[in-house]
Chain length 413, copies 2
Amino acid sequence: MDPKRMRVVIIGGGFGGLAAAEALRKADLDITLIDRTNHHLFQPLLYQVATAALSPGDIAWPLRTIFRSQSNIRVVMGEVQGIDRAARQVQVTDYPPVSYDALIVAVGSRHAHFSRPEWEDHAPGLKTLVDAVALRTRMLLAFEEAERRAATSTGTTPLTFVIVGGGPTGVELAGAMAEIGRNAMLPDFPFLQRQAVRILLVEAGSRVLSGFPPDLSANAQSALESMGVTVLLNQRVRDVGPKGVSLDGQFIETGHVIWAAGNRASPLLSSLNVPLDPAGRVFVRPDLTVPDDEWLFVIGDAAAVQDAQGHVLSGLAPLAMQEGRYVAAVIAARTMSGRRAAFRYVDRGTLATIGRAKAVAQFGSVHVSGLWAWLLWCTVHIFFLIGFRNRFRVVSEWIWYYVTFKPGARLID
Amino acid sequence: MDPKRMRVVIIGGGFGGLAAAEALRKADLDITLIDRTNHHLFQPLLYQVATAALSPGDIAWPLRTIFRSQSNIRVVMGEVQGIDRAARQVQVTDYPPVSYDALIVAVGSRHAHFSRPEWEDHAPGLKTLVDAVALRTRMLLAFEEAERRAATSTGTTPLTFVIVGGGPTGVELAGAMAEIGRNAMLPDFPFLQRQAVRILLVEAGSRVLSGFPPDLSANAQSALESMGVTVLLNQRVRDVGPKGVSLDGQFIETGHVIWAAGNRASPLLSSLNVPLDPAGRVFVRPDLTVPDDEWLFVIGDAAAVQDAQGHVLSGLAPLAMQEGRYVAAVIAARTMSGRRAAFRYVDRGTLATIGRAKAVAQFGSVHVSGLWAWLLWCTVHIFFLIGFRNRFRVVSEWIWYYVTFKPGARLID
């Protein structure tokens, strides 16, 4: 690389990091993109891999292939150990330190079990392809086990899945499990009764999808209930163990708890030595930098950004992408900190899906539910899927599933 | 199930077991199909999963879905522990014993390292989806590691892949690795040199594809060599270790040896207490039964069947399928052993592919090489892929890859 060129290091190939790298396509810079995996993951569809509707390869795309024709970028697959701000270097396992003039930290978040890490064994979350394939395997094995019990009359334990957290991920998972578990899979398990498959969605607050207006929350809840999901509101999880989950007033016997209640930003952020909020995110300045370095940016789920009303924005793919492009523009123009316009999130609307022809959408004061929201959801998700090949595969899977009710990726390996 | 109906148990959901079960679709029987996995695997394309050209879900199909509308069959996912011939029962882990009136043993084979099981750690084989995904991960990580070394100048060790065994699997793997490794992946690894990727195919005999006529072997070898594969003939493997592989006169330094040299039938067959051939297969009678039970059939890779010339036929998907249908006809008609016509394999030709537009085919005395053989290979493989969905996906992947040179499933998870 040219020693006179500005060196930009991006940690993380999620929505934010990818958007920044792509926006710097034509910049005269030396960019290094570091990710622990070799692929960009389209996280909003991860729950479809977990429920065997899509294959891992449908929602992930090798980072090297994405940047194959971008000559100013080097892709490094490696685990970042820490950030040495004094030396302006990123430490990567089995790799020489990577020096930067500007650093974009886009390391995302992991699911968090409040302060009870021991719950994770019994209530896995859903953030990576490995998580999704593990959940899929557990779900398919649970059906096999329940069928075995029913066929040999050795027990009548119902097959209970408990999803903790009524945010978009929890609602999408509950809807997908109801659809796939009760509609698509049951015909293949002749001994299992429909009533034997129970899906419970547990939410600590008073409504699901609390980020949406109350009318859409109500619509989402009744859509879930019409699909056979039991929604438990105002129920806090007290304990999770191998036998089941304890809520405020009841114990639910199950070996299948899925955690979709809250995230925590990457532990790597502590090596920045800047103040973090309770969810482990960096309080960034209006130009998305840390307080004492105008060329160290934090974006995406790792950053706590405030909107005009003082609300913290987080956990949205469009937000991360807009942040990535904002930072890219600052870096490409070498804008000094005093001359930077503050980052502003342009909210183009929010969508959440519940199931086949069921979704909710909000665009400012416009609220949409049902088929039209769902068609919009499909369009938006396909539009954002990287690469023609994946779009094509996902669409063909969805059409196939819609027509036949047979999910495509029901492999136990 | 009806206690008066004949109980047929099929062990193994490969080509043979599946063909038998499907041919019994309308028979008035109680069929139980037992497989350790939940899917039928289209093994001839397994090497494409191992080389990241296809996804696991493209070549596997849930057994329950295949038999969803066949009411006389029960699918059991479970590990068969043994066959109790005296009690006429199959023992399955965590499942009550399964009684049979007729038993079809279609348990297939695993790769075998002659009598050196300790080699397996350093030279894995390719028989299951787990094998294929493990190989894919190793190959992709090896490229990442080589790129890291080249980018940081910490070494110039070439990236050497050694494939042991010049049969169809070895030839297909070598061709696919040459194509994908040297053509499709190299553009994504800017520091790696083309010459740094070496693919060696080691064969103990005097030619590759020894099951084909010599002219086709020669064509296959020159096609491989034109793709950059080094073919080593008359070279026996003396040792395999973590540092590399010892051949008759040389040591090849590599951490990437893939075993495609010889199979051994399932160890389960020893519980039948019948004579086995050196490859562990059962010597079946002309009606595919074991010597002392006219309702115990062994088919597919587990059986050693002789043709009219006394050659042992084995390891061919069409053979297994014909055997499955033959046995199904005998069972459906309850033909007693004295009245059964001997099984006869109808050889409709043999095909092996080497790469893009390169294949060999034999139909009796007609030998075909190159583009036409390859088109035929594509057609036959697509035709036999189970289910419209998989056909559709595989074709779209192949076309995509053919046009773009970008393989689709390059995920490290």
